[in-house]
Structure formats: structure tokens, C-alpha cells
Symmetry: C2
Subunit: 313 residues, 2 copies
Amino acid sequence: MSATPTIAAVDWGTTRLRVWLLDAKGAVLDERRSDEGLLTAQHKGFATVLDRQLQDMGAAKDLPAIVCGMAGARQGWVEAPYVDVPSSLGDILGAAVPVSGAGRDIRIVPGLAQRDRRAPDVMRGEETQLAGIAALIGAGSHLVCMPGTHCKWVTAAGGAIQGFGTWPTGEMFSVLAQHSILRHSIGDKPAKVSPDSKVFRDWCGEALSDGDIGARLFGIRAAGLLSGLGQEDAAAALSGLLIGAEVASAVRRFGRRETPVVLVVSGALGGLYAEAMRLAGIAVTIADADEAVLAGLVAAARRNGMLAEGVAE
Amino acid sequence: MSATPTIAAVDWGTTRLRVWLLDAKGAVLDERRSDEGLLTAQHKGFATVLDRQLQDMGAAKDLPAIVCGMAGARQGWVEAPYVDVPSSLGDILGAAVPVSGAGRDIRIVPGLAQRDRRAPDVMRGEETQLAGIAALIGAGSHLVCMPGTHCKWVTAAGGAIQGFGTWPTGEMFSVLAQHSILRHSIGDKPAKVSPDSKVFRDWCGEALSDGDIGARLFGIRAAGLLSGLGQEDAAAALSGLLIGAEVASAVRRFGRRETPVVLVVSGALGGLYAEAMRLAGIAVTIADADEAVLAGLVAAARRNGMLAEGVAE
């Protein structure tokens, strides 16, 4: 480590933990990833896990930390109560909750709640990614798509988060591939799906036409019995079907925008969503999810006086 | 047993087996249910399981048997190749496949295949129920709904099966309740859902409006976090959501008919589907699924010369 860190930035998910050490300008000095997510930390203790990580990185015992994600859940470290939408990005970050008695200054960014009887929803962690792409969504009206286990679609206008919805597409894929009759079609270890797969495109296109997965799920099984659809193609069909239905459903709910959809994503999943958007005739602007969460944590640290204001990056 | 049986009728499902002894007129003399379905029979041997059941019922060693369901699957006893739709009920029953070397005359009713590239589908067992409700669907154009683990919707016209689709709604409920994030909302043992539940009706109505489960699945979890939706209501919400989406999806695919939808169902599930249809403004004629399969087996025995022709009940 070449310079002394000013603050630690922490993204505490359900199954993984990421820690960055930042200098006074918010630049990264060091970075660690571990699998000590919420589930592990509930067992070992949040303070113990974070202290150990920071100690291993050579950080001072009183180094402040800005945290987002599941550490702020009710079953997390300290509950950071949901901020209701609509809310500005600044107000969301400003509502960070301090952790007392930790021996260092720690603040946890709150999640968002949509208290709409017909469309109740919550998020934790994505609000920080949204703050990290403020440059993209800070002006005008935007639709943001944030793929993952529970994909979030978010509407933003004038730098405020207006509303959002959660499509549990990643979880549906995993649960159906492992536990439904489709496990016979897909096999024990689902094949990696490529956006270049014709089967992915065909099934995605079908689902895009009406947003319906209904009778098509079992169609994957039937296609195996009737026309020999193989395991790799069955995985591609399921992925295409679920992502296509999600995009159609989200567009039906939020409408099409004049501005491109901001696709916040990293890794292989990004390619699949980008292809689905292309098939749907939707223009996208791609933002990297890892960079977004880090930029959001820097913005949160600044908003809470833990880092001096400055030009991001 | 008061009279000597003429034939055994057998419904061999994936997880259960039902056997009836019938007299020469097709009337029931005795009935048994067991859990020796396909999965058990693959292990113990189909002939062994059936011989034991019939012996326990006091039947002769050479009593003929008419069989429907998974015994005719590729991984079953003897494959009864799918009959392609469209096909008349008579032709379907007439394609029953004999089992050789079993020491008794056994015929297995084939399943149906829909070899449509955009909507591939298969059924095994429901075709026999359809034959059992020939009096309801033998003339005119009809839409039939057959709820279960894999709910089948079938179009029939002039006594022929035109096409069908499978909505795996029962399996979706079970898999999502047990293996998705909704297990936290629903608990280890999902509560029995009543069609009188306001929550069932509300969520069913929402899904009926557009057929979309998309963001609403996670909404059940969010409603638990934000407004204290309890476990019983969470199960009702999931059930209403899935059944409502199914009905909307099936109606979108097959259109509304002038005749009532024939709802072939037994037990508690029938009440939930009947309520969903009511909410959708769809008239129904209810047929009992157990009676339908038995009547279909009797019709199959007659069509194959195993029982004398006669007036069905």
C-alpha cells in the first residue's frame, strides 16, 4: 500500500463482501473480495468480520468505513431504515445510519422502499449503484435496468428515484433449473449461456412478443422429448425466455423512454441483457456495476462528510 | 367383492397409482389407491406392482387391464408413442399399445403430442380424462382447463382434440414456496389457501389484469417487509398470482369461447380455479377429474374390445 487510506468503502451483500481502501480523493489504494456476506457475518459478527478484513489490509484500527447493502437490513448489523421513494439521490445518501460502539466511524447507506399497495418493493445496495451513476441519470428522465439475482428496474427523473420494480429472473432461472421438471432438460450443471445462441434469441424473442412465460416453460421440456433439444440449448431457452419476459414486462410497466435504458451490469449477464434489449429494439447505455457501487460509496462518504468534496474520479 | 370383475382400469401417474375393478358394464366393483407411481414402479417393476395390487384385490391372474398415464412414457413400462394433435378421441383411444408377455391382456393408452415449433407440448393421462368427458366436449367448440402440477388447457372441436398448452402452475407454487426467497415469506409448510381469502382474490385480480407475474413475485416478499403480510396471506398471494396469471395467459392464447370453460378438477384446487374464473368473468362447467379418468378408461376398454359397448353411466 503506497499511501495511507482515508476511508474504507464496503459493499456487503447477502453472499459476498467487498472492501476498498480509498485515499482522500476517493481513489482506490487496495481492494479485497470475500464470501463473508450477510449470512456469514450474522454468524461471526459484523464487526469481527470487517475488523479482520481491514486488519489484513493493513488499515488503522480507527479507519472510518462507509457501508452499503445487507449490513443495513433488519437482520443485518444495524438497521438503516428504508428511505421511501420518490427521493433524491442526495437525500438517500444523507440518511446513512451510524454504527455506534464499533471503535471507528461507520455509516450504513439505507435501502429504498416503495410503499405502493399494488406494487410494494424494496432494494438494498442498488441505491448506492444508482448514486454512482448520477452523472448518467442526474438530469432528465431515465429507465435503469440492474440485472442480477433480483433484477431491479428503476425510474429516475431530475436526480431523484421515482419508483422501481424487482424481477427475480436470476433466482427463477436457478430455482427452475435445479428444482423443477426442467432439471431433466437442463442437467445437473446448467451450461453457460451465450448471447450468440440462436436458441437464446429465439426463446427470448417469443417471450418479448407478449411477456408471457406461462406455457413456454413446459415447452422447453416438451421440445426435449419431441425434437431432442439438448441440455445446453435447454439452458439457453430458459434464460432467453425469462430475460425476454422480464424486458417485456418492465417495458409494459414503465413504458419506453426517449433516452436509452441505462444497463448497470457486469460479467456475462450483461451480454444476455444487452442482446435481449437489442431484440426488443431498445437502445442502451452500459454502466459497469462494480464501478457504480464504488462511485456510489465515494459519493456517500462525501455526502456524509467522511471524504472532502471533490470531482468524482 | 360381490361380482366377478371383467377388467381392471389403471391410472398410473408419476407419484401415485389407482386401480379399479370393473364389471362387464363398466361399473366399479372395487378401488385402490397407492403411492406406487412411476418412480416406484421403475424400481420394483411395473408387472410386479400391478400383479401385487390385483392379487390383493382378489382378481384373477389373467384379468385384463386398461392403463393410462406414465406407464406409457419412454421411461415407463412399454412406450405408447404420442398421438399427434389434432386427433379424434376415438383415434387416440384406439391407438392403445399392448404389453406383451405380462400373462394378461394389458393395453396402455397413448399420450398426446403437439409438434408445433413455437408451442411444443405433451400430455399423458389427461387425454383419458378428456375421453371421459366426451359427453361435454363431443360436439361444438370447447376450451378445457385441467388444473394440477402441470395444468393443461385444451381446445376441442367436434369431438377432436385440436391443441393444448401446459401451465406448470402447481409446480411453480411448490418450487417457489420451497426454494426461492419467498420461503421466508411463506414458511416451511405453506398454509392451505382458501378461495374466500381476500388476499388470494386481490393478487389473482392483479395478475388477471395483464397475465404478468414479473415484479409481483418479489412484491410478496416486499409486502411482508413493508406491511407485515403474514405467512398464510403470503401463500394466498402466491397462489392467486400464479393462478390469475395462468388464466390470463391461457385466455390470451386460446381466446374466449361462447361455451363455458370445462373445468376438470377435484379437491381444493377446484375452488381456487373456479374463483379465478369467476374473477375473470369466465363461465365454467365443472367436471370431476377422478370420475373423468375412470370414464375415459372405460371408454378406452370399449374402444379396444376389452368391454362390450354400452351406454356410459
